[in-house]
Every structure is written in C-alpha cells, then in structure tokens.
C-alpha cells in the first residue's frame, strides 16, 4: 500500500484506464452504427473521422482523469462535480486491488502491442533498406527495382520512397506509368506509411472486427486520396480508373501470394478496387465535416464515461472490498 502523491498518481492512472475502456466500448458502438454512412463524406473528411474514432478514447481518458484529479475535486468551485463523480480514497493505493490489476493489464497489453508494432517497423525498415540498396534511384523519391513482377508501392516510415519494378515499366505505357508514379508520390506527400503504422497502433485497442474495419476503411481512404491527388478533371479520373484496372489485371498474372485465396480476401480486394473505381467515376457532392455532431458526441461520451467510471467504481467497491 502506498500513500500521498504516488498513490494519487496511480489512482488517476487507474481512472484513466477505466475511462479508456468505457470510452472504447462507446466509440466502437458509435462507429459500428454509422460505418455505412462514412462513404457519404469526402475522402479527407472520412480520414479525419477515422482518426477521430481511434484517438477519441485517449482524449476521453485524459478528460475523465482530469475531472477526477484534485484540479476539479478540491475546493468549493466544483462542489457539484464532486457530488456527481468522485474516487474513494485517492491518496491511498493498494497494490493488491482491482485498481492495480486493471492498470497492470493495460500496461502489459500496451507493451505487447508496442513491441509487436516495433518488430513490424524494424522488419519493414530492413526490407526497404535492402530494396533501396539494390534499386537504382530514378529521382529523389522514386527507386527502380529490377524484377519481372509488375509492382508499385511506397514504403519507409521516416523518409518514404516509391518503388517501381522494371516489369511494370515494360508492361505499361508512359502515361499509365506516370499515373502510377503520381499515385505513389501522393503517398509520399501524405506520409502514408507512417500514418498507416500509427493508425494500426491506435486501432489495436479495439475489438477485432472493429479494428479490421477501421484499418480497411483507412487503407481504402488513403488509396482513394492518392488516386485523386493529381486529378484535375473527369478525363484524368477515367485514365486513373483504367490504369487501376489494367494494373490489377497485370498483377493478377503474377500470383506472388497464392495462399490468400479465401473468400474474405477476394471480397476485400474486389470491394477495394470497385470502391476506388466508383469513387473516381463519381462526381457527387460529399457531405462536409460534421463539426456540431462530432462535438456533441464527444461531450456526451465524456459525460457518459465520467459517470460510468464513477458508477463502476462504486459497484465494484460495494460488491467487493477492492
């Protein structure tokens, strides 16, 4: 058992963890109920909303922790707030308590996720470094790699580079190649590999089905954003869409990942390419960022999470003495 400042710090961390879990459940529910409507928003807005979904639990955890901190719990100014929500004995922390266990589980899970992501990062860094070493630099961001596999991708987290294979150059026209290179340069411009890694890190805290959908949506949005990055008129949109179809057909002849032939994967690919082509052909007006709605939902979630943390705390401590 510890007292005073350290105890207060540990108790506030336990509050944060509990608030994070509650917020995570509510954010997942909100996301699941509006997932179908996200396609009505422009790609950049959709990306912002997806970021908001994965970051909101952290923001709520921080807000709730602040509400439970002495900043808002001491003195007469926030007396009504203290009546509404409070934490029992914040200056005493028991190591053999549910507070401590929840904290340990969260820290353990976070370390597991971080280690896993760092390993991915390290492996990717090694592979990209080797590709850079064996490739020839075409310009500042584009590397040419000698391979019959028609491929184009962007990799590298801090200084991303585009990789274009000789197989792709041989089988595409100069215009098509330019479209592909511009698409990859858009990924460099947006720092997509780094953002993808960060997004996967934050979304790892969600339940499996929510996590996969969040990541698929973000991945698709990034591709759609890169598709339209340099498109200035409908004619160019059509050319990008045609190139996408041609490239997909070309790549299909080089099955380098034969083990991914499950129904789910086929559906995902088809869905992804279909969505990208339809997005390029579509000229409908998209909805703007729902500022008011987002603000109301976040405030509501802060309120729900704060009262839920207080209620959960009381229920657990009434049923079991720690």
């Amino acid at each position: 058992m510890i007292y005073d400042q350290w105890a207060l710090a540990f108790n506030l961390l336990a509050v944060g963890v509990l608030a994070f879990l509650v917020a995570n459940i509510f954010v997942s529910a909100v996301f699941w109920s509006i997932k179908g409507r996200l396609a009505d928003y422009a790609v950049s807005t959709r990306k912002s909303l997806l970021w908001l979904f994965v970051l909101t639990p952290w923001f709520i955890a921080l807000s709730v922790t602040l509400v439970f901190s002495p900043l808002f719990q001491d003195g007469s100014t926030f007396i009504s707030l203290t009546d509404l929500v409070h934490w029992h004995h914040p200056d005493i922390f028991y190591f053999l308590s549910w507070h401590s266990f929840s904290l340990l589980i969260f820290v353990g899970f976070s370390l597991y996720v971080l280690t896993k992501k760092m390993i991915v990062l390290y492996r990717n860094h090694q592979q990209i470094s080797l590709l850079r070493a064996f490739g020839s630099k075409k310009n500042k961001h584009v590397y040419l790699i000698e391979s019959i596999i028609p491929t184009a991708f962007t990799g590298g987290l801090i200084n991303p580079s585009c990789f274009i294979s000789t197989g792709l150059i041989e089988q595409t026209s100069a215009d098509e190649l330019e479209i592909i290179i511009q698409h990859e340069l858009a990924h460099v411009h947006f720092s997509d590999p780094l953002k993808k890694w960060l997004f996967s890190l934050f979304s790892a805290y969600f339940a499996s089905n929510v996590k996969h959908l969040l990541q698929s949506m973000m991945s698709l949005s990034m591709e759609q954003d890169a598709d339209s990055f340099f498109v200035k008129n409908q004619h160019q949109s059509h050319n990008v869409a045609s190139t996408l179809i041609k490239f997909t057909k070309l790549a299909a002849n080089y099955s380098i990942h034969p083990h991914y032939d499950s129904e789910l994967f086929v559906h995902f690919c088809r869905h992804s390419i279909e969505q990208r082509v339809l997005h390029l052909l579509n000229d409908k007006q998209f909805k703007t960022f729902p500022k008011g709605g987002v603000l109301i939902v976040i405030l509501l979630l802060v309120l729900i999470s704060t009262t839920s943390v207080d209620s959960l705390h009381h229920v657990i401590e009434t049923l079991f003495t720690h």
């Binding site: 491929t151 294979s165 990924h187 996967s200 991914y260």
Partner: protein, 128 residues
Amino acid sequence: MQLGELEKQVLEYLWKIQPADAKQVFSYFEKNRGGSLNTIQSTLDRLFKKDLLGREKSGHAYQYYPKIERQELIGQLIKNVTHDFISKDEDSVVAAFSSISADLDEQQLNKLEAMIELQRQKLQQNAE
C-alpha cells in the same frame, strides 16, 4: 538489414562470379576501387553473418557464394513488403498502387472497365 556500398558491390560481384575466395574478390576490387584484403575479408564475413552469403572451406581459404540469386532476393523482398498490404493485415505499413493477387474476379474487372468506357463516351458526347 542495412547494406553498405562495398557490401552491395561485393554481393553484385559474387552474383556474377561465384564462388570466389577473399583473395579473388580483393584482386578485382583492388583494381577497381582500392582497399585492403582485410576490408574485403571483413565485408565477406559481414555478408555471411547477414545470411546473404554461404561459404565452404577449400584448402586454407573459404569459398564464398551467394545464398540467393539477385532476382530471387528482390522478388522475396517485394513479396515480404507487399504481404502486409494484401493480407488485410493490421501491421501493414506499405501503400501499394493495387493489391496483388490472382484471385480477383476477371468478370468484375471487365464490368468496371466497361463502366469507365461508358463514362468516357458520355463525357465526349457532352463535350461535342
């Protein structure tokens, strides 16, 4: 895995001429870029430790040979890097122009292609 410039050059040399011992490699690089036998020996050793070279003892010296051919190595790297992207993996850190798979429905792609063509024609008609 990082590869220094000399490591890359030695590997490229061994892809062309293999197997070779340290002296053979040194005699080639001595003419082309200078350096000492020790440097070549340690470079070969580093490449061996990185698992890019294999070696067999022949007399007093090791004969070094690439464990994997150039095309094969690049193909393997492409496969590994794009694997994350195509597998709908949560750990994907690569953004590729299109997913690579032989499992796409050709009919579906043809349908999309026809749709693009139709839109193109409409646009042309409107312009006229």
